[in-house]
């Protein structure tokens, strides 16, 4: 078994806080980041969201951007989180030049488009945001802000986007295509996604209750999270936060927005990740589940977990009730949360859980739990049947 790909930096901005430290404190305290929309202007003020309580102006201030910048909200989040990851990894100016950037996002700069769509033809004021709608623009802006000059690309596979970005980064380092790469994803709350999920009738008016029998939907969130991955031969004794030891992507090939009841796609993704890692299912100490709180996802995911782990389902929890479902950013955020769990040997609770679902009887960890952790499985599933699983492992000295 090889050692896996070294992670040397991580950064996150979410409804829980603007740094890994702030996120950790909230997770340990069991304090949710869910609230109601204040920054996002919407008529759906009754829907809980994991909103970052800083305006774009305040976020731009944190990055010292010039007034007429073209950073949309997802770009602002992305730059902040990626910067934190890079500074933890202590990458030098020269190293940054040879560092790649792979980012996942679902709607990119849609927030700007929905704000200015009706005025573009009349007024010239915001036309610089026209191209910002498209996901690649967000990625390029962050890369150039942070001087990342090697391979830059964008993955958009809905809610598994950043998990796929992490997977691609790990694969490229393993294949020797890159020595260093920043991977993760970013998404902001927008009227587009809030109304989209609302029209699908899968948003809950309560704080989400993943894996609970009475769960009735998800809450959207926003933010960004990134990891710095480095090849072993360029580490030079640098501290390693953890390793990516497995990854797998598979397609459910069932329905555009719903998962198959048997969780076929999820099952295959987890199985592939275990195969790559060389681990057996017994080695997994904790699963950070996708666990959105919708009827469909949680049942499908539970069935996939039961198929893989049988009688011996490891401890698992969904942290969506802390951050909201941050769509393309969720895989990145849950990678950061998993690394924090690994480093401190603790499992963050699945908030709001009361009664196991009838079909499976599975009970997630619902209070903070101290436990020695060696290997963590993290799941991310998205529209289009896209299923991705990652395995994070403690660094062996």
């Amino acid at each position: 078994m090889d050692k896996g790909i070294a992670i040397t930096g991580m950064g996150i901005i979410s409804a829980l806080g603007t740094s890994a430290g702030e996120n950790d404190s909230a997770l340990i305290a069991g304090k949710t980041g869910l609230s109601y929309p204040e920054i996002l202007k919407t008529i759906h003020s009754n829907l809980p969201v994991g909103e970052v309580k800083f305006s774009n102006l305040e976020l731009a201030g944190k990055l010292n951007l010039p007034v007429a910048h073209t950073f949309t909200r997802a770009t602002l989040f992305g730059a902040i989180a990626a910067k934190e990851a890079i500074s933890q990894a202590l990458l030098t100016k020269d190293e940054l030049k040879g560092t790649g950037f792979i980012s996942g996002t679902s709607v990119g700069g849609m927030d700007a488009t929905e704000k200015y769509y009706l005025e573009y033809e009349e007024k010239n004021d915001h036309r610089r945001f026209i191209q910002a709608q498209h996901p690649g623009f967000t990625t390029s802006q962050i890369a150039s802000h942070l001087n990342l000059e090697a391979y830059v690309t964008t993955i958009s596979t809905a809610c598994s986007s950043s998990a796929n970005a992490i997977m691609l980064g790990a694969r490229m380092i393993k294949a020797g295509k890159l020595k260093r790469v920043v991977v993760g994803g970013t998404d902001c709350l927008s009227k587009f996604t809030l109304n989209g999920f609302n029209s699908l009738m899968i948003l809950s008016e309560e704080f989400c209750k993943a894996f609970d029998d009475s769960r009735n939907g998800l809450n959207l969130g926003e933010g960004a999270a990134y990891l710095v991955l480095e090849a072993d031969d360029v580490l030079n004794g640098k501290p390693v936060l953890g390793r990516i030891s497995g990854y797998g992507n598979a397609n459910d090939a069932f329905h555009q927005t719903a998962s198959s009841e048997t969780g076929q796609g999820a099952f295959s993704a987890i199985k592939k990740a275990l195969d790559i890692s060389g681990l057996s299912s017994k080695n997994i100490d904790y699963i950070n589940a996708h666990g959105t709180g919708t009827k469909n996802n949680d049942l499908s995911e539970s069935n996939a977990i039961l198929r893989i782990f049988g009688e011996k389902v490891p401890d698992f929890s969904s942290t969506k009730a802390f951050t909201g479902h941050t769509l393309a950013a969720s895989g990145g955020m849950e990678a950061v949360i998993s690394l924090s769990a690994l480093q401190n040997d603790q499992i963050f609770p699945n908030l709001n859980f009361e009664i196991p679902m009838k079909e499976t009887g599975l009970k997630p960890v619902s209070v903070l739990k101290k436990k020695k952790l060696q290997h963590i499985l993290s799941n991310s599933f998205g529209f289009g049947g896209n299923c991705t699983s990652l395995i994070f492992s403690k660094n062996e000295e």
């Binding site: 919407t42 008529i43 759906h44 679902s106 849609m110 488009t113 929905e114 769509y117 009706l118 573009y120 033809e121 036309r127 610089r128 026209i130 191209q131 709608q133 498209h134 996901p135 690649g136 623009f137 390029s140 000059e149 391979y151 830059v152 690309t153 964008t154 993955i155 958009s156 596979t157 809905a158 796929n164 691609l168 694969r171 490229m172 393993k174 294949a175 295509k177 009227k191 587009f192 109304n195 989209g196 609302n198 029209s199 699908l200 992507n249 598979a250 397609n251 459910d252 090939a253 069932f254 329905h255 555009q256 927005t257 076929q264 796609g265 295959s268 529209f383 289009g384 049947g385 896209n386």
Partner: protein
């Protein structure tokens, strides 16, 4: 031992030009800066019921993919990798306008469901019952190239992978495409497409299309080309581009002398065509130089057309006059290099060989 070379064994082009007609000397001319693609007979590939609900991107993507697979004699690839620079804009626009016009009230989910960037990849998975690796890249004008790079990596790391379906798709939409006039991406004056490369003004013309390729490690009589390499990079000057090209050639054990023909992304934008000019007068001065965007317009995954063109040149041995930028000639080129950029960003190189 299995070959580690990659072959393009099936392909399909949906663009502003009917597939194959250019090789018979027939071209469609348009006097407009936004040009819809020529629709193939979608009904032969997609059941009428399903077709009604599909936007152009999904129709074009599915149809192109099915043609490419059929040509290669494949039914189910091991993986599906899609590139789309701007995704399903028609459904995005429909849902967005509904939100804005109805003040977030009484919305139906269909357009939202189909607006996701990976809709085409997901639909292909369902349609072909392909449960393998499935990822969508949406990185500006390097979306298709990113997808190809991932395919190369997949073959490299997994010897059991036998075939990968790779493609690029982009569609026009009414408003979002028209916004390209407002930020100088399109020319202010409407032009006739055959004159695009002679126009000395800023901006370009745009269109839509789908280009899918069935890639395999197995060479057969169906094989069009060998995919040698793909590279996406940042460059500030033409000099950076020349250096990168030489570097990529060297990494693949080629020299500039091995390249007989180049396909360039000239789009008539006098702010950025200098990237091509410099190569035409320098590194590529003795090569057969072709351009294609005067036939297809420029859009984020149009480089799929350039790959299609290179493959067709290998297969037919002919080079239609309409593509030629210079008088250099060559019989049956063996190695073709493709170079593209958009607005000075997302530069890409692809190398194909007739082996």
């Amino acid at each position: 031992m299995k070959n580690n070379k990659l072959y393009i064994n099936g392909l399909s082009s949906i663009s502003a030009q009917p597939e194959n007609a250019v090789f018979e000397g027939i071209i469609n001319t348009y006097h407009q800066n936004i040009i819809p693609a020529v629709s193939p007979d979608f009904k032969s590939f997609i059941p009428a019921m399903a077709l009604r609900r599909m936007s152009r991107a999904i129709r074009m993507g599915l149809t192109s993919a099915k043609i490419a697979l059929k040509q290669a004699g494949m039914t189910k690839p091991d993986a599906i990798i899609t590139g789309t620079g701007e995704g399903c804009k028609q459904d995005t626009e429909k849902f967005l306008e509904a939100i804005l016009n109805q003040d977030e009230n009484l919305l139906t989910p269909t357009a939202f469901i189909q607006s996701t960037h990976n809709t085409i990849g997901g639909q292909l998975a369902q349609n072909l019952e392909c449960t393998g690796y499935n990822v969508t890249y949406t990185h500006n004008s390097a979306s298709f190239e990113s997808a190809l790079m991932d395919a190369q990596l997949l073959f490299l790391e997994d010897r059991e992978i036998n075939s990968v379906l790779v493609g690029g798709v982009d569609e026009l939409s009414k408003k979002i495409t028209s916004f390209m006039y407002l930020d100088s991406q399109l020319k202010e004056e409407e032009i006739s497409n055959p004159d695009l490369l002679k126009s000395n003004s800023s901006g370009t013309i745009t269109s839509e299309g789908a280009h899918f390729f069935s890639i395999s490690t197995e060479k057969s009589e169906k094989t069009y080309a060998e995919l040698i390499d793909v590279s996406v990079f940042q460059a500030k000057t033409s000099k950076d581009v020349s250096e990168k090209i030489l570097n990529v050639l060297q990494l693949n054990n080629y020299t500039i002398e091995d390249i007989e023909l180049v396909i360039l992304g000239n789009n008539g934008d006098n702010r950025f065509d200098h990237f091509y000019d410099h190569l035409q007068k320098g590194l590529f001065s003795e090569k057969v130089q072709l351009a294609y965007k005067h036939l297809t317009g420029d859009y984020k995954t149009v480089s799929g057309y350039a790959v299609w063109l290179a493959c067709k040149i290998f297969k037919t041995g002919s080079i239609p006059e309409i593509f030629k930028l210079n008088d250099v000639t060559c019989q049956n080129p063996k190695t073709i290099l493709l170079y593209n950029q958009y607005l000075g960003d997302n530069h890409s190189i692809m190398i194909l060989s007739s082996n």
